[in-house]
Amino acid sequence: MLKHLIGTAAATLALTALPAMAELKIGSIVELSGPGAAAGTNFRDGVKMGFEEINAAGGVLGEPVAITEYDSQTDPQVSRAMVQKAIDDGVVAITGTVFSSSTVVNMLVARQAGIPQFTGSEAPSITSMNNPYIFRTAFGSQKGIPKLTKYMAEEMGVKTVAVVWANTEFGKGGHTAFLDEAERLGFEIVADIPTEQAQTDFSADVVKLKGIQADAVFVYLTEEESARFLREVRKQGVQMPLVGDTTLTGHKVIELAGEAANGALGHVGLTPDANIPAMTAMVDRFKGQFGYTPDHNAIKGYVAAHAIKCVAELAGKADSQAIADRMHGLTLKAADCPGVLMDTSWDDSGEMSRESFFVEVQDGKQVVKAILPAN
């Protein structure tokens, strides 16, 4: 740590000693402490790795990128201060935050200053506020869930479902989107089970599942809770198919839940397991650099960095307004901009879309059962 401190101090000195270089400032505002720390750290590292690669390859339009990190502390009040600071510092674009409560606040401020913001949040409300400076790095749950429910209705023949969800702003987003879709498709909800943030004991929740009969259980929990839930399901011997979105079949869940994860089904957008060569390579580089397996938040951050680079180059200048204008209605092809990993489109509200997959966990590995087209 001391070495780290000295290194930082030396770097600061070196920077102040040099004449001001033309460089592109990016503000990375993420949850580095508080309840969002795990998600935020992943996102931050993804952004960092993305821009380090970009700098190694000559920067954006020949200018090196300087990232400044700001800790939102998972607190909207602090987050608002950090956005203001980033703007005062003269950033061209902002990456983060992951928790939508902070994103909602940051959007108000960034909009007034005309700074584009690449968020990791998936809450539906974010792109429905007519804010021309917000862009997603993963589709909102109102966009991802319909793909899943469509598959459930058409391929699995689901009529009745139980819903298990995290009673947090993350889980609530997925829960609301799922209930809307379920109503549209005429699913009958036989059980609706909210769980707590960081819950460790899922026996009561699984007991409730045991008492009902449903064609499928929709599980919308974060990684660690998913793993604990899957183990409890295995223990109590619940046989209904479990279907999740993004988290349930993720790499981290499989690592934590072990063989209890086998048989879990899920829709995945950006995960290390999507079986795309560019993604697999990115995940390997990430592991080498940071020593852990990135989750979808890290990949969102990585995609954000590369999207900023490619858009700035398409626009011909690294200017906030030019980036925001160019983003609307844009499609970035992985062939032209390899860093986005998959062909990705943004619409006029900043919502994005791309292909995704329906997978099943078999023998501790994800197996793709269907490719779901972009919508």
Binding site: E196, A204, V207, E224, K235
Partner: protein, 291 residues
């Protein structure tokens, strides 16, 4: 019926671990009037010591031993010498603040130096599941319950039946008189802190396979232990045991039969009721202190 049995057994298994954390809590309170707001982190940390030991190449059980030794040194001796002892003359509040800061320090250090995401942790008991009257009971549940009971029962015997144990109790109840009677009060207080560290290590090894090792595990656990200690009685070891089991069962019962959204509220309402109706706790005895 099977449902109720399932809930009760799962609740008891979870509650037995709360009890371990709560017992340590009451021990520290008795010995030094320390309200340890870092108790949850005390249970979180030894799990990481085990993981570090295993990363250094030790097999599981030697790694647990390694963790125990580290915990005794860090959470027992160093905590007492460096933090509690210099602060005791200042009253309880600075110490409360210091333990809040200590909890933050432990949590943030694990996050920065080990990682922000949860880690798998080797299981202590086989993954067998038995069917008891229609309820699924794992070897882990039974094992956790038995180990916690043994640890707490053994502690109770030690305190009541051995000379050292009785000296510890005397030091806790009236340090002045104990000193006059020739008891080495400082040493007895140190023993209390060491026992707390050992209990935390046991709890950590038992819960980490279920909770998965994560820096933030202490947040809820510390709170639950605190509630369990108050409910059971802050000055009795068996009070903490009953409090822990009760909180575990109530939590599960209310999640199924009352409201999943308000499951956390039930133990708290119990806490408030206890404070108003029986402030010394279910099994506690009245303390003479007025302020």
């Amino acid at each position: 019926m099977a449902e109720l049995i399932q809930i009760l057994i799962s609740g008891l298994a979870a509650g037995s671990i709360y009890a371990l954390a709560a017992v340590g809590f009451t021990l520290l309170w008795q010995a030094s009037q320390t309200i340890n707001f870092a108790q949850g982190e005390f249970v979180m940390l030894p799990g990481f010591f085990v993981l570090i030991g295993m990363a250094l190449g030790l097999p599981m059980w030697p790694a647990v031993l390694f963790a125990l030794v580290l915990s005794l040194l860090v959470l027992g001796a160093a905590f007492k010498k460096l933090i509690v002892e210099p602060m005791l003359p200042h009253g309880t509040l600075p110490l409360v603040i210091a333990t809040i800061a200590l909890g933050l320090l432990m949590k943030e250090s694990v996050k920065e130096f080990y990682g922000a995401t949860a880690q798998p942790f080797p299981a202590v008991f086989p993954q067998t599941v038995y069917n008891v009257a229609g309820a699924s009971v794992s070897a882990q549940d039974i094992g956790n319950l038995i180990v916690s009971m043994l640890a707490i029962g053994g502690l109770q015997l030690f305190l009541n039946r051995t000379r050292t144990g009785r000296c510890m109790q005397a030091s806790a109840q009236n340090p002045g008189v104990a000193e006059i009677l020739g008891v080495d009060v400082k040493r007895m207080v140190l023993y209390t802190f060491l026992i707390n560290a050992a209990l935390a290590t046991i709890a950590s090894v038992l819960i980490s396979p279920i909770y998965l090792a994560k820096f933030s595990n202490g947040e809820t656990l510390g709170l639950v232990a605190f509630i369990a200690a108050i409910v059971g009685g802050f000055n009795q070891i068996r009070g903490a045991l009953v409090g822990g089991l009760l909180v575990g069962v109530i939590d599960n019962l209310s999640a199924v039969y009352v409201s999943a959204e308000y499951r956390q509220a039930m133990p708290l309402l119990l806490l408030i009721a206890i404070i108003l109706l029986r402030p010394q706790g279910l099994l506690g005895t009245k303390e003479g202190r007025a302020v």
